[in-house]
């Protein structure tokens, strides 16, 4: 792996819906300033934002670690929440364990994980019940994946 050019770490606060998305917004700005193509910027930001929202909703907050080199952005979102009991089920569109309070905020429709997969070039999820979840998202700058 080539040395990362830009490394950023963010804390994702627990249950604070007002500032959720701040990390993704910041990364989006960095990618735009680097001149990354709008399609890639959008895909990386949506995948990261979905993961960030999930960490707020399910994971009692967590951390975001971002590495950008000349070819790709690699994003790691980790939480110490309840973990995902059945990952295959959770990947299905429409499956959600989000509480009503989150649905009232316009989220929790069970689209987040599948949407991350759709936008990322590589998506890896490590999860363990009662230990937490770590999502690894890679988006290549020269990727022509369309959304």
């Amino acid at each position: 792996m080539k040395k990362a050019v830009i490394v950023r770490d963010y804390t994702i606060p627990a249950n604070d819906f007002t500032i959720a998305g701040e990390a993704s917004s910041n990364v989006r700005k960095i990618l735009t300033q680097l001149g990354v193509s709008p399609n890639v910027v959008k895909r990386a930001s949506i995948a990261m934002y979905e993961a960030e929202i999930n960490a707020v909703i399910h994971g009692k907050g967590g951390n975001a670690h971002v590495e950008i080199d000349e070819n790709k952005i690699y994003i790691v979102i980790s939480d110490e929440g309840p973990g995902i009991a059945d990952l295959e089920l959770a990947m299905q569109e429409g499956y959600s364990t989000a509480p009503d309070s989150i649905r009232e905020m316009g989220f929790g429709a069970g689209m987040g994980l599948s949407n991350m997969k759709k936008h990322a070039d590589i998506l890896d999820i490590d999860t363990e019940v009662n230990r937490g979840t770590t999502v690894h998202i890679t988006v290549y700058f020269n990727s022509d994946k369309k959304i």
Partner: protein, 116 residues
């Protein structure tokens, strides 16, 4: 359509100060569920919604949307207006319900998807 024309078509009030009125908005999506906006909306430049919370502005930002129309007389909070101004997103409020606001804009040529 220009932002001022959009506001006019739905008797809307533009709530943000620094919008770019040279922008030509061609497409929109209407939804109260931000999860679906992110999962299903493609290259739309405008969001119509009845949902009020800061994540509506965030979702629009991630989706490259330039305009949010709040329907059914819903008004965004001051902090949402500030966030939108910071992100260069125009906010418009209208009394029309979601269907009617969408219909009026569709009638003026706004499409369901397309280029910004």
């Amino acid at each position: 359509m220009k932002i001022s024309e959009i506001a006019q078509a739905i008797n809307g009030e533009i709530l943000t100060k620094n919008h770019d009125n040279e922008l030509d908005i061609k497409s929109a999506c209407s939804a109260d569920l931000m999860s679906d906006v992110m999962a299903f909306s493609k290259e739309n430049a405008m969001l119509l919604t009845g949902l009020i919370n800061p994540q509506v502005v965030r979702t629009a930002e991630m989706m490259d949307m330039k305009v949010i129309v709040f329907v059914r007389g819903k008004k965004p909070t001051e902090s949402m207006i500030e966030l939108a101004e910071e992100k260069g997103i125009a906010l418009i409020a209208t009394e029309y319900p979601l269907f009617e606001a969408s219909g009026r804009l569709y009638e003026k040529g706004i499409q369901g998807s397309g280029e910004n």
